[in-house]
């Protein structure tokens, strides 16, 4: 009866799990293994604890601005030019991320299930879903995510249980992997894995009436860290870390070892179902936010129609990446810079907004 989308705790939690954990099934275990060796499984816990500090600051500073997203905040604080600068930064960032993840999905699909198909054809399949998703909007994607996430979870859990006989605790030794230096210093950059939580800040104006922003944000955050940690521990226990380092999806390799009896001997295709679904939802969300931020920054009356041009730009950028090695390097670079955008810019914006608010209040008095 109300036309405005209203998000409850379940939808927000499902959203944050999807946007953060999708990378887990593409490249993160590889990077973590490269950084910390056999101790790579500790990185999400370590990064989760580290990220909690800026995350808490953001949530605390957000009080009083619940009806605004980051663009509204920059407009409120710095005016139209400020909004344009912040908007352009996020547009470029999301475009880069979308292109990178799209390339990751295309490459992995070609490697696993469609080796005979052309790259462009595989890209077209992803592209069609992304465009339709972004066209129909946030509400539809979030609802689909809320419905499909439990199904995906069940599929992944089946993969875990059926591949459980491969688990070997000796794989995580030596416990500190490449040493405390790479683990604790190199691991600091992994707070970037929570970059997508930034998108949650764009959802806050859509929270259901009476839903506590603080409670919802923290619960979603802890749930996300928990899911992330469980899966990463599982992968590090199932495959020796030198294998995880390779360019091939570690979870797919685990799924290949799944066994559910003599009759059904292979299970990896079922894993692909969940994996592709997760990727489709994630890519659609990125494309949606890209068009949303663009339309809002430049105050365009249309947003839906931007889905096609942005998807085409993203695919062009994605296909510029030539090989898996280049892709891996870009993933690594991304980890080094993303934390600035996810934590520093919002904190800076929120502090500035607080100051601006106080000034305005003083002026009124």
């Amino acid at each position: 009866m109300n036309n405005k989308i209203q998000l409850g705790f379940y939808e927000v939690a499902a959203f944050s799990i999807t946007v953060v954990c999708t990378k887990l099934f593409i490249y993160l275990p590889n990077l973590m293994s490269l950084t910390a060796g056999s101790a790579g499984w500790m990185l999400p816990i370590y990064a989760g604890i580290l990220a909690l500090i800026p995350f808490s600051i953001i949530i605390a500073l957000y009080k009083g601005f619940e009806s605004m997203d980051l663009l509204d905040l920059s407009d409120y604080t710095f005016g139209k030019w400020g909004k344009a600068i912040i908007g352009i930064i996020f547009i470029l960032l999301l475009l880069f991320l979308l292109a990178l993840l799209l390339r990751g999905y295309i490459s992995n699909t070609k490697l696993t299930v469609m080796p005979m198909s052309s790259t462009f054809f595989v890209a077209l399949i992803f592209l069609s879903s992304m465009i339709v998703g972004a066209y129909f909007g946030l509400e539809a994607i979030i609802y689909i995510n809320a419905i499909s996430l439990p199904i995906i979870g069940v599929l992944f859990l089946i993969s875990i249980f059926t591949a459980g006989w491969h688990i070997d605790t000796s794989y995580i030794y030596p416990l500190l992997g490449n040493g405390p230096g790479p683990l604790f210093l190199g691991g600091m950059y992994y707070i970037s894995i929570f970059f997508e939580l930034l998108l949650m800040l764009f959802l806050i104006p859509y929270f259901k009436k009476g839903l506590s922003v603080k409670k919802t944000a923290y619960s979603s955050y802890f749930l996300t860290v928990l899911v992330f940690t469980v899966f990463i521990i599982f992968v590090f226990l199932s495959i020796p870390y030198p294998i995880i380092k390779g360019y091939f999806m570690p979870f797919y390799q685990v799924a290949r070892t799944a066994s559910i009896g003599f009759y059904f001997q292979r299970f990896e295709s079922v894993f692909i179902l969940g994996w592709a679904m997760l990727g489709t939802v994630y890519l659609s969300l990125l494309l949606y936010f890209l068009t949303h931020i663009f339309a809002k920054t430049f105050e365009l009356p249309f947003q839906r129609t931007l889905a096609l041009p942005f998807a085409l730009i993203a695919i062009c950028l994605a296909l510029e990446i030539k090989n898996a090695e280049q892709l891996q390097t870009l993933y690594g670079m991304m980890q080094f810079v993303l934390w600035i955008f996810v934590f520093i810019i919002p904190i800076f914006l929120l502090i500035s907004a607080k100051i601006a608010k106080r000034r305005r209040e003083n002026k009124c008095e």
Binding site: M1, M114, S117, A140, I144, I147, R266, S269, S284
Partner: protein, 535 residues
């Protein structure tokens, strides 16, 4: 006759020369209705003009005289033959007016009061002065009596026409539970609902739809349960329809739904009074159209389409077992061909080796690619089904046998399709027949082709893309303001389990939260008080 005509036939000129052109009708065909005049001749002429008399044969005007204060007053009665009970007109209207008016009586009152209160012996009468309303009522089976010197007409409700009796269910057949269904007469349908819900708070609003058809529509709701916003929105949509005619609930559905091009029903249609009654008691609204044996229920969740009316009458373990089977059928009906094609084309490793050998061996002789083979068989099945519905029943059964057995067997023998494809298509068909809702069945039948094509060209990735695209489109659909995937997305109240699976009758304590009912409680936490008393 000339020589040419003696040998050759010459068709007469002008026989085949008619061409439809845009020629306007003469201006005098439309008569402005206006109000009833005191002079009867004016009224008579107006009625004749409105009804294009005497060309328009079923409209009857009977002129007569009423004796009033020792003088004769001219009058006439207007009705449409075939829509009225002539016995009532003769015995309760004409006879008293023409014969009983002779009796000596207190004649101090006005003529019209005397006619209404002393002469006409019929229960439902009314006085109307606007011709618009008079015509509307006469067209709906009433008769109008015009009396000289009286500037209004007396309307008597004498409706009576031939109609289908209350019959058995066609699309919502059950074994347990009532078998009666609505028929085309709105008043009969209303009576069936009223018999089930004797609550005085049940409101039935009448709304006239269609500029020309003037179709009677009824908006049902229970005023102390249903959310006011919901009723207002339904009323707003109904009153906002501007068209010449509405003749059925299916047509009305298209006028009030949000997204016309989305292949999913946005309202539940039912032919069963018990289902309608339960929906009203849940806090929903219902709309019925005169002349249509189906009611529209809104808002609905997609998960409600899985339930059958029979679930209410079965013990809950059996109802749940049936629902699981139905869900399986539903999934088979749209996913099986796509799944089969994608596994065989892209994910062969999933198939057990022995079975893979069998499939490959049967496929070897067939000259078509698997995707094409499945699509052709699916299309053929739809063709047989459509033909079976359109032709008379005895031939329909024969056609089904010819279609399924002979055609299928011959196709396999001719190596045009493989036997396993026949099995897949047959299973899909059985699955679609198990779908409890006719309109949802339609949706899934057509979505299936999309899934098959996507599965055939891109394997599981294609299936996921198809799943995502169709469901994103569905998720954007709202049924009278309520998202179609409620209560799971957005999550509201009891959630999916309680919506998909049946609970015991005593466990339905609250109404669905997504309806925001004014009265949330259906029954107390302990509704089986006898159980508590024993303790």
């Amino acid at each position: 006759m000339n020589l040419k005509q003696f040998f050759l036939f010459t068709p007469p000129k002008g026989v085949d020369e008619f061409t439809l052109t845009n020629t306007p009708m003469p201006d005098n065909t439309f008569t402005e209705p206006g109000t009833v005049q005191a002079a009867i001749a004016d009224n008579l002429n107006k009625v004749k003009a409105i009804y294009t008399m005497p060309t328009n044969f079923p409209t009857i005007i009977r002129e007569f005289e009423i004796k009033w204060k020792d003088s004769k007053v001219a009058a006439f009665i207007l009705f449409i033959d075939g829509m009225v009970d002539k016995n009532i007109i003769n015995d309760n209207i004409l006879k008293p007016l023409m014969i009983t008016s002779n009796i000596k009586d207190d004649l101090k009152t006005e003529l019209v009061d005397y006619v209404e209160k002393r002469l006409i012996t019929h229960s439902a009468i009314d006085s109307v002065s606007e011709f618009d309303e008079i015509i509307q009522k006469v067209n709906f089976g009433n008769c109008a009596i015009f009396i000289d010197g009286v500037a209004k007409a007396i309307i008597a409700d004498v409706k009576s026409w031939e109609h289908r009796a209350v019959g058995r269910a066609v699309t919502e057949e059950v074994i347990h539970g009532p078998h009666e269904v609505f028929n085309e007469v709105l008043l009969n349908s209303f009576a069936l609902v009223r018999r089930a819900v004797k609550d005085p708070n049940l409101v039935v609003e009448s709304i006239i739809l269609g500029r020309r058809s003037k179709t009677n529509c009824a908006l049902f709701y229970i005023k102390d349960i249903t959310n006011k916003q919901l009723v207002d929105e339904a009323r707003r949509r109904l009153n906002g329809i501007d068209t010449d005619f509405i003749l059925s609930s299916g047509q009305l559905e298209q006028f009030i739904e949000n997204k016309t091009f989305v292949p999913i029903p946005q309202f539940m249609t039912t032919e069963r009074p018990d289902r309608l009654a339960i929906s009203l008691l849940e806090g929903k609204i219902a709309i019925m159209v005169d002349g249509s044996p189906n009611a529209i229920i809104a808002p609905v969740s997609i998960f409600e389409f899985i339930s059958s009316p029979e679930d209410m009458y079965l013990r809950f373990p059996f109802a749940n077992m049936l629902r699981v089977i139905r869900i399986l059928g539903l999934v088979l009906s749209f996913l099986l061909p796509g799944l089969f094609v994608s596994i065989v084309n892209f994910h062969k490793e999933m198939i057990p080796t022995d079975l893979l050998f069998t499939i490959v061996a049967t496929q070897e002789k067939v000259p078509f690619p698997l995707l094409l083979e499945v699509l052709i068989m699916d299309l053929l099945f739809e063709l047989v089904r459509e033909a079976g519905i359109r032709i008379p029943n005895p031939i329909g059964a024969a056609l089904s046998i010819v279609g399924t057995l002979i055609l299928g067997q011959s196709a396999v023998s001719a190596n045009l399709v493989s036997p396993i494809v026949i099995i897949i298509v047959a299973l899909t068909a059985i699955g679609s027949l198990a779908t409890p809702n006719y309109t949802l069945g339609f949706s899934f039948r057509y979505i299936r082709f999309f899934y098959t094509i996507m599965g055939g060209i891109a394997g599981f990735l294609g299936l996921i893309a198809a799943f995502f695209i169709t469901n994103v489109i569905f998720a954007s659909v709202k049924s009278l303001g309520v998202p179609i995937f409620v209560p799971f997305a957005p999550k509201k109240g009891a959630g999916l389990i309680k919506k998909v699976f049946a609970s015991p009758a005593w466990d339905y304590e609250n109404r669905d939260a997504y309806l925001h009912p004014m009265n949330n409680n259906k029954q107390p936490k302990i509704s089986r008080k006898w159980n508590k008393d024993k303790e």
